[in-house]
Amino acid sequence: MTLTGQTSTRKMIYWGSHYLMIAAFVIFALFPLYWLLKVSVTPNDILYTEGVRMWPSRTTWENYAFVLTQSNFPKYFLNSVIVSGTTAIVTTLVAALTGYAFSRFAFRGKVIIVALMLITQMFPLVMLIAPIFKILAPLGLTDSLTGLIIVYTAFNVPFATFLMQSFFDGIPKDLEEAAMIDGNTRFEAFRAIILPLTLPGVAATLGFVFTAAWSELLFALMLVSSESASTFPVGLLSFVSKFSVDFGQMMAAGVLALIPACLFFLLIQRYLVQGLTAGAVKG
């Protein structure tokens, strides 16, 4: 009796500290987001006067109203959606096909191609800005969303390819061979059998590339000069003027910018968590 009592107390302490640590980490990770939200609803006049408080004495939607109606933010936002969405889709498409080839075929020069793709990941982006500008300018691709999409896609394809390859590696070769014997060509087998099973991988890749492109600042800043082609990270900077930073509006814009990323992950989380291949072969 005493023994079981002791064990259950120990168990409680064990699980209690377990959850406490998780809670501490979650609070640490989410606090900046909370602060973003808090500042975005704090009226400008009490932002500095109230001192550090967990929640302002008055709240307001003014900052949101201003950002949505008076600033260029909706335009930036739309640009970002176009650029990130297109980049995510194009990159995932290319990465799925390349990753499948890497996973399934042995071909001449495979090692060299893999090595080249790895090398592209080694350079700091800052080094590459000047040459990329030099290449894009004569093609009329600077100051354009198309240019940004091309650059983002090029930079994300290698990593996305390796990501997709690892997902294809996890699916047994027997499955498409069975499909090919059942009457599919290799491409049909890929589309009808392998792709549905790789949906978690596709979702992960889409999500990864989308967020990478969504928050990219360096190229967006350097390659685009006009307001009409700016993406929102560049737009956020416009709230910083020479003499002051408009924190309230900046934070409101930041909260709005979080929405698509959140929605996106909400849509794909089902596939991220779910392992679809269970039961395909002997487990």
């Binding site: 027997d174 499955l175 059942d182 099973l197 039961g279 002997k282």
Partner: protein
């Protein structure tokens, strides 16, 4: 259903030759088992018939048509994989109907075919389930069902039972055999398990190092193995081998002189010369324990292994381990000496250098491979 002809088929990966000229004719409705140790090329040969591997040279024909350059889907064959390879995102019924759907078979025909096959395999209650909700044995059945539903020219099996436990394997072995009787389909079955080969095959194809060693009925392969490899691979417990030299005695008899000087009498072998280096082969059940010292060779007992039905006695003779199969229940103490005698009519003589069997002069010349 159809016959399959393989003519001088070779397979190389770069400089590595995996199959060195395979010739094999499989008749319509025959159940052929390709057996051999891992890496002998049996699975590669099966995958070449299926069209999953290219043929480096030679020809494979199904129903008289050369299929070398046909895609797997155009060969009209069905295959059962070791891993079952069920489509995990489809139900059992969808798995089984996939091939028929691709062939644009009418819906009523598909559902008739599926319910028929599900009935045979006892899958009727499981048709709506996904593969992950099935046990290993059930998955195996679905994989079989998927193959049967199509009524293909030929069935290919790639070690389909090796993921099952011993009891289930035995059961499925019988079921596959019964199905074959019922459907009469040409089947090529790959396994490394010699018991599967013995029990299931119409003819066994024993392979080693990318070469067919022998083709024959299970009994033929067991009783008249073409060489030391086949003799040692087929049969469990395995055949005993003792090196020695061939001696012809004055009275037209013959024997094998072992390294310790003992002479084991054997039937006179074809083409064997006096003093030729030979290997004596004898299956454990063809050695008996005798009480009479005059008729037996002294052997030291190393281990008594009871196997339920029978007992396996491990002894040492001429410094070599020998296994003896007996239906008695011997209880010799370890390290004691017993006398053993070889069944002269059933002992095999192999040429030591070529490893080929030297059949007794009383046996008609066979020598031809398929």
């Amino acid at each position: 259903m159809a016959s399959i002809q393989i003519a001088n088929a070779r397979k190389s990966y770069g400089a590595v030759d995996v199959l060195h000229g395979i010739d094999l004719n499989i008749s319509d409705g025959e159940f052929i088992v390709l057996v051999g140790p891992s890496g002998c090329g049996k699975s590669t040969l099966l995958r070449m018939i299926a069209g999953l591997e290219d043929i480096t040279s030679g020809d494979i024909s199904i129903a008289g048509n050369v299929v070398n350059d046909l895609q797997p889907k155009d060969r009209d064959i069905a295959m059962v994989f070791q891993s079952y390879a069920l489509y995990p995102h489809m139900s059992v019924a969808e798995n089984m109907s996939y091939a028929l759907t691709l062939r644009k078979t009418a819906k009523e025909k598909i559902s008739d075919a599926i319910s028929g096959v599900a009935e045979i395999l006892g899958l009727t209650a499981l048709l709506e389930r996904r593969p992950k909700a099935l046990s290993g044995g059930q998955r195996q059945r679905v994989a079989m069902g998927r193959a049967i539903v199509r009524k293909p020219q030929a069935f290919l099996f790639d070690e389909p039972l090796s993921n099952l436990d011993a009891r289930l394997r035995e059961q499925m072995r019988t079921e596959i055999r019964k199905l074959h009787h019922r459907l009469g389909a040409t089947s090529v079955y790959v396994t490394h398990d010699q018991i599967e080969a013995m029990t299931m095959a119409d003819r066994i194809v024993a392979m080693h190092d990318g070469i067919i060693q022998q083709v024959g009925s299970p009994v033929e392969i067991y009783d008249k193995p073409a060489n030391i490899f086949v003799a040692s691979f087929i049969g469990s417990p395995a055949m005993n081998f003792l090196k020695g030299s061939y001696e012809i005695s004055d009275d037209n008899g013959a024997g094998v002189r072992l390294s310790d000087g003992a002479l084991v009498p054997v039937l006179q072998a074809q083409n064997a010369q006096n003093n030729q280096a030979v290997t004596l082969g004898s299956r454990p059940e063809h050695i008996s324990i005798v009480s009479d010292a005059d008729n037996g060779l002294p052997a030291k007992v190393e281990l008594i292994e009871p196997m339920g039905l029978s007992t396996l006695v491990h002894v040492t003779l001429a410094g070599k381990p020998i296994k003896i199969f007996t239906m008695d229940r011997p209880n010799y103490p370890v390290d004691s000496f017993i006398h053993i005698a070889f069944d002269m009519a059933k002992a095999h003589v192999f040429d030591t250098s070529s490893e080929q069997r030297l059949p007794p002069t009383t046996e008609p010349h066979s020598g031809h491979k398929d």
